[in-house]
C-alpha cells in the first residue's frame, strides 16, 4: 500500500513532498522544541505576523511562549560564522491567523539559508527557485511576487520622505495606491514612486520599466537593486522558472529585519498569500550575527482549505462479528489487514460509518460479503 494514500491529511502529504524537495537541494531538517523565551518575541514584535502569544511560566520561573514563529528561533541559535547552514522545518506555530478568534495552532513548512558572503547571489537564487518549485508542486496556476526592501528604502530616501511621511508612503505602496502617494508629494510628479505603487508585472516586463526610469539610472543604490533583480531573472530563466515571477513592491516587510528581496506566493483561487519570505540580514544582526540569511514559509493551513478533500470511506472493510469468539474475530481481522485492508470489526456498525465493503464473519471462520459501496 502506498503510504501516501493512507489516512494522511493533505497537509501531511504536502509537507512530506516539500521536505523531499528541500532535501534534494541539500537542506537538512531542523527539529526544535515547542517553547522559547517570551523575551525573544517581546523584543522583536515587528518581525512577527501577530503579536499575540500563549505564554506560561516554566518550572524555573521563566516566562516562556509557545512558538509563534520559527525563523526567529533558527536565527537566534544559528552559528556566528562558519559554512552556510541550510535548514528546513515542519513545525506547528501558535499565533493568531486571519479570521481566528484566538491563538491557533498552524502547521508551517519553511526553509532558511544562512551564511555565505553578502555579495554571493547564489543563496537568493536557490531560495527563490525553491519558492517557485514549492508553488509549482502545489498548483501550476501560481504567481510569485518579488519586491525589494532596499529598492523601496532607496527610492524613499531619494524622494526625501522621512518620518511620518515615510510611513504614509510605505502604506500607499503597500496598498497599491498611487493617488495617495501623489497627494503626499503635493502633486509633484515622481515617476519612480508612481511605479512603486502601481507596478505588478512579470520580470521581463517590469525590469526594463525600472531600469529606464531616470531616477534609477542616476542612483547607484537603486541601480544595484535592479541589477540584483535582473540577475534573479537570468538565473530563473536559465532553469525554466521565470514565467510566473512578478515584480511587485507592495510586498513590504519590516525594514528593521528585512533588507533585500522579499516575496509572496499566490495560488489562483486562494485569496491570500500562501508563501512568504525574504532576506533578513538585519534580524541576524540583531542577534549579533553578521551573516546573510534568507528563507520562506509555506502556510499549509491556508492551502488545506482549498485542497483537502474528505476521505470517501472511514475504512476499507466493516467486519460484522455477531457473537463470534474473540480469537476467531482477531484471526479474521489479522487475515484482512495482512492483505492490506483497513478493517473495523464490531458487533453493531457505528452510526454513519462508511466502508467500501461490509463482511460478516461466519461460524466456520469464513467471511461473506453482504454489502458493497
Amino acid at each position: 500500500m502506498d503510504i501516501l494514500q493512507g489516512n494522511f491529511t493533505w497537509e501531511d502529504r504536502t509537507s512530506l513532498k516539500l521536505g523531499a524537495l528541500f532535501e534534494r537541494y541539500g537542506f537538512a531538517r531542523y527539529y526544535m522544541g515547542k517553547f522559547e523565551s517570551y523575551d525573544l518575541y517581546r523584543e522583536n514584535k515587528n518581525f512577527l505576523k501577530s503579536d499575540t502569544a500563549i505564554t506560561f511560566t516554566d518550572s524555573a520561573g521563566r516566562l516562556m511562549a509557545l512558538k509563534p514563529d520559527i525563523t526567529m528561533s533558527i536565527a537566534k541559535h544559528a552559528a556566528e560564522n562558519g559554512p552556510a547552514e541550510k535548514l528546513y522545518y515542519v513545525e506547528n506555530v501558535f499565533r493568531k491567523a486571519p479570521g481566528r478568534p484566538d491563538v491557533a495552532e498552524i502547521k508551517q513548512i519553511g526553509l532558511e539559508y544562512i551564511g555565505g558572503s553578502k555579495e554571493d547571489l547564489y543563496p537568493a537564487l536557490e531560495t527563490v527557485l525553491l519558492a517557485c518549485k514549492s508553488l509549482e508542486m502545489i498548483d501550476p496556476a501560481h504567481i510569485l511576487s518579488v519586491g525589494h526592501m532596499g529598492f523601496i528604502s532607496a527610492a524613499l530616501d531619494a524622494a526625501a520622505l522621512y518620518g511620518p511621511r515615510r510611513e504614509q508612503a510605505l502604506e500607499a505602496i503597500r496598498q497599491k495606491n498611487p493617488g495617495s502617494l501623489a497627494a503626499l508629494m503635493s502633486g509633484e510628479e515622481n515617476p519612480l514612486l508612481h511605479l512603486l505603487a502601481s507596478l505588478s508585472a512579470p520580470l521581463p516586463t517590469a525590469l526594463p520599466l525600472l531600469a529606464e526610469t531616470a531616477a534609477v539610472r542616476g542612483n547607484a543604490e537603486l541601480y544595484t537593486c535592479v541589477e540584483e533583480l535582473r540577475a534573479l531573472h537570468a538565473a530563473l530563466l536559465a532553469v525554466g522558472f521565470a514565467g510566473q515571477v512578478h515584480i511587485d513592491f507592495s510586498i513590504i516587510n519590516d525594514m528593521g529585519y528585512y533588507n533585500g528581496i522579499v516575496f509572496a506566493g499566490y495560488i489562483r483561487g486562494i485569496p491570500r498569500a500562501v508563501l512568504s519570505g525574504g532576506r533578513y540580514d538585519n534580524l541576524m544582526q540583531k542577534f549579533g550575527k553578521k551573516r546573510p540569511a534568507l528563507g520562506f514559509a509555506v502556510y499549509l493551513g491556508e492551502l488545506a482549505r482549498a485542497f483537502s478533500t474528505p476521505p470517501v470511506f472511514d475504512a476499507d472493510l466493516l467486519l460484522l462479528c455477531g457473537d463470534a469468539e474473540p480469537v476467531a474475530r482477531l484471526r479474521a481481522v489479522e487475515t484482512l489487514t495482512q492483505d492490506g485492508y483497513s478493517v473495523l470489526s464490531c458487533i453493531e456498525p457505528p452510526l454513519g460509518f462508511k466502508a467500501a465493503r461490509t463482511l460478516r464473519l461466519l461460524e466456520n471462520g469464513e467471511m461473506e460479503e453482504i454489502a458493497h459501496a
Partner: protein, 205 residues
C-alpha cells in the same frame, strides 16, 4: 467573471451607476428586489450587495474580487486588501464630537461612545489619553445627552445632525470617502479585467 461587492444603500447605487455607464450593467440591479446577488455572464460581472461594513470581508476572503467601501470602514476593520482608488464619493470625516457645554473632568477616564472602537482606541492611545469605550451600533448622537457617554467618535458630513443634538465636532481623526478595494490574489490573476474597471472609474471620477 469578476465579482464586485457593493454596499447596500445610496453609495452602492451611485457606484453601480458608474459601473453600468462603463458597460457593466446587470439586469435586475436597481429594481425593488430582495435579491442580493446579480450576475451577467455575457459581461463577465457579478454583483453582491452587502452591508457596508462587510464589503472588506467579502473582498479579503476572495468571494468578491473588488469592492466599494468607505475609508471609515477600512480604517476600522483593516482588511488585508489593496485600496487602489479614492472614488471621491460619500465624502465625510471621522471626528470627535462633544456637547456644547462640555467640560472635561481630567480626573476620570473619558467615556467615548462610538461604532468605531478600533479607530477611537488608536486615536486616544496615540495621545496617551485614558478612555472608557462604549461600542454602539447607531444613533451615536444621543449618547452624551442621555448621559451614556462624555463624547462620541462618529462620521460627520455637514454637522447638521450633531448640531440638532447639541453636539459640536472638535477634532478630525481622518477623512473618509468611498474607496475601490481589490483582493490581492485577484489583482494578480484577473489583472486585465481589474485594470479595465480601474481605468473606467478613474476616467469618470
Amino acid at each position: 467573471m469578476l465579482s464586485v461587492a457593493l454596499p447596500k444603500g445610496r453609495l452602492g447605487e451611485a457606484v453601480y451607476a458608474k459601473f453600468a455607464a462603463m458597460g457593466y450593467g446587470c439586469a435586475g440591479m436597481g429594481t425593488d428586489s430582495r435579491r442580493l446577488v446579480f450576475e451577467d455572464a455575457s459581461r463577465g460581472i457579478r454583483y453582491i450587495l452587502v452591508k457596508p461594513s462587510d464589503v472588506g470581508v467579502y473582498v479579503e476572503y476572495g468571494v468578491a474580487d473588488l469592492g466599494i467601501a468607505g475609508k471609515d470602514v477600512l480604517l476600522e476593520s483593516e482588511p488585508d486588501v489593496y485600496e487602489v482608488l479614492d472614488l471621491g464619493l460619500g465624502k465625510c470625516r471621522i471626528a470627535v464630537a462633544v456637547p456644547l457645554d462640555f467640560a472635561y473632568n481630567g480626573a476620570l477616564p473619558l467615556r467615548v461612545a462610538t461604532k468605531y472602537p478600533r479607530i477611537a482606541s488608536r486615536h486616544f492611545a496615540a495621545k496617551s489619553q485614558d478612555i472608557e469605550l462604549i461600542t454602539l451600533h447607531g444613533s451615536m448622537e444621543i449618547a452624551p445627552v442621555t448621559g451614556l457617554a462624555d463624547v462620541i467618535v462618529d462620521i460627520v458630513e455637514t454637522g447638521a445632525t450633531l448640531r440638532e443634538n447639541g453636539l459640536s465636532p472638535v477634532e478630525t481623526i481622518a477623512e473618509s470617502s468611498a474607496r475601490l478595494i481589490v483582493n490581492k490574489s485577484s489583482y494578480l490573476f484577473k489583472r486585465a479585467d481589474i485594470d479595465a474597471i480601474l481605468a473606467g472609474l478613474e476616467a469618470n471620477a
